[in-house]
Subunit: 252 residues, 2 copies
C-alpha cells in the first residue's frame, strides 16, 4: 500500500512480540496506582502462586497472561474452577480450604500481588480501586455462572465450543485470512479439567471440530477459527459470552 519499502514493516506474528490490541484494551483497565503498591510477579508456565504470604491472605491482579485455580478433592479428581484473564482479580479466600487448591500460571505473564489487608485498605480509601475490584468480582462471577452451566448441562461438543469461543473472545486477534487467531496456552489435560471432561474425549471432540473445518491449529498451542459465528452456533452460551467479554459493558 504505502511506499515504505525500507521501513521495517514487520507483522508481529510471534506470540511474545506484541500483545494484540484486544489484550491491551483489557476488560477494565487496572488502576495504575495499584502497580505502586503491589509486588510484581512474573510468571512462567506452571508456576504456582502462593495463597498465603507469611500467613497472611493474598490477592492477585492479573496484568497479562492467564492464571487458573485448580482444586482436587481426591487423587485424580482435579477440576479447574476458574481461568483468570488480564484485569481479573483473585483473592485467596475464594479458594476452598481442605481442597488442595492451587493457583497457578497458565503461561508467561505478570500479576500484581498484595496482602488482602493492604488491598482492602487501598480499596477503602480509593474509589477507583474499589470500583475496579467490585467490577472484576462481578464480571468473574457472571463468567463462572456460564462455566457452571456449561459443565453441568452441555454435551462435550458444546463445552469445547464454549471454551474455544471464550479464548477467542479474550485473546483472539483478527487473522489475515479473516478469522480469529488465538493462543491456547493450556494443554489438553488442563482444558479437560476445566470442562469436566476426560482428556481423551476432549481430544476426540477437537479432532472432530478440526475435521469439520471449524478449527485449525496453525501451530502448537494456537488455534485459528475461520468462521466465528459458526463456532458460536455450536454453543448455547455464545450470546452470554459475547455480552461479557466482547463488546462493551455487559448489557442485555
Amino acid at each position: 500500500m504505502t511506499t515504505s519499502s525500507l521501513k521495517a514493516r514487520e507483522v508481529p506474528r510471534q506470540p511474545d512480540a506484541v500483545p494484540s490490541e484486544r489484550e491491551i484494551e483489557a476488560p477494565q483497565s487496572i488502576p495504575s496506582v495499584l502497580a505502586t503498591h503491589g509486588a510484581l510477579v512474573r510468571t512462567r508456565r506452571g508456576q504456582s502462586l502462593s495463597l498465603l504470604l507469611d500467613g497472611a491472605e493474598t490477592v492477585y491482579v492479573v496484568r497479562s497472561g492467564m492464571l487458573m485455580l485448580r482444586v482436587a478433592f481426591a487423587e485424580g479428581m482435579r477440576q479447574v474452577v476458574t481461568l483468570l484473564y488480564p484485569g481479573d482479580v483473585f483473592r485467596a479466600a475464594f479458594a476452598p480450604t481442605a481442597a488442595s487448591a492451587r493457583l497457578s500460571a497458565v503461561g508467561a505473564g505478570e500479576a500484581l500481588r498484595f496482602r488482602w489487608t493492604v488491598f482492602s485498605d487501598l480499596a477503602a480509601s480509593n474509589p477507583e480501586i474499589d470500583r475496579f475490584y467490585n467490577d472484576a468480582v462481578a464480571r468473574q462471577n457472571a463468567r463462572a455462572a456460564i462455566h457452571m452451566a456449561a459443565v453441568g448441562r452441555f454435551d462435550c461438543r458444546q463445552r469445547v465450543a464454549t471454551f474455544l469461543l471464550e479464548l477467542a473472545l479474550h485473546a483472539g486477534a483478527r487473522a489475515p485470512c479473516g478469522g480469529l487467531d488465538f493462543e491456547i496456552p493450556l494443554n489438553r489435560t488442563d482444558i479437560a479439567d476445566y470442562l469436566g471432561l476426560n482428556a481423551d474425549t476432549l481430544s476426540r471432540t477437537m479432532s472432530r471440530l478440526r475435521a469439520s473445518g471449524l478449527l485449525s491449529h496453525p501451530e502448537r498451542h494456537r488455534g485459528l477459527v475461520r468462521d466465528l459465528s459458526a463456532l458460536a452456533a455450536l454453543t448455547p452460551a455464545a450470546r452470554a459470552l459475547m455480552a461479557l467479554s466482547g463488546d462493551g459493558p455487559p448489557q442485555a
Copy 2:
C-alpha cells in the same frame, strides 16, 4: 412479627425444640445498619426477585430462607448456579446477561434489597458493611468452587451426598435420635438442576441412599441423616464443606 394464635408459618415440627446453635451463630451476622437502609422483601416459594429496579442494579442480602440463581441457555437446559443461604449476598451483576438468569426464592424467607449504588456507598462509608460484603463474597466463591468440582467431577452418588451434607450443615438441627434433621426446600427438579443431573437419576440415587439406611424422609421436604460421618464419607468434598459452613470463620 406479631403472631396471633393462628399459625403464621407451618406447624413448628419437632426440631423446633432446639433451634440448633449452628443456625443462630450464622456464618457472618448481618450488620444491623443494613436493615435500616434496605427494603425488606418477604419471599414465598418460587417467587422471583427482580435483578433490576427501575433500570438500576440490585443487591440482595439473605436474612432467612434460601434463594437460588438459575440460568437457562436453551429450552430445557437449566442450571441452578448457586444456592444462597442466610448471610449471603447477591449482586445482580453476578448473573450473566443473555442467559435468562432468574433469582428466585426457594422457600419462605426474608431478604434485604438495595440498589447497588446505594449499597456500594454504604460499604464505602461503613467498614463493617464493607467487611461483611467482602467476606460474604469470598465465602460464596469458595462454596462455588466446591460446587463446580462436584458437578464437574463427582459421580451421581457423590453429588447427592455433597448436596445433602451442604444442606445438613447449613440448616441441620440435631434430631432427638442423635442424627441431623433438616429441611429440603427444593423439589427434585431443582436439586437435579443444581447438581447437573437428570431428575430421574437423582430420584434413583436418593432411593438408593434411603435403601442403604443413610437417609430418611420423616416427611416431605425434610431429610434426616442418622450418621453424618457416614454421609460425609460418601463425598470427597466433606472436609471442605465442613471447613466452610461449619466451625468458625473461613481461614486456612
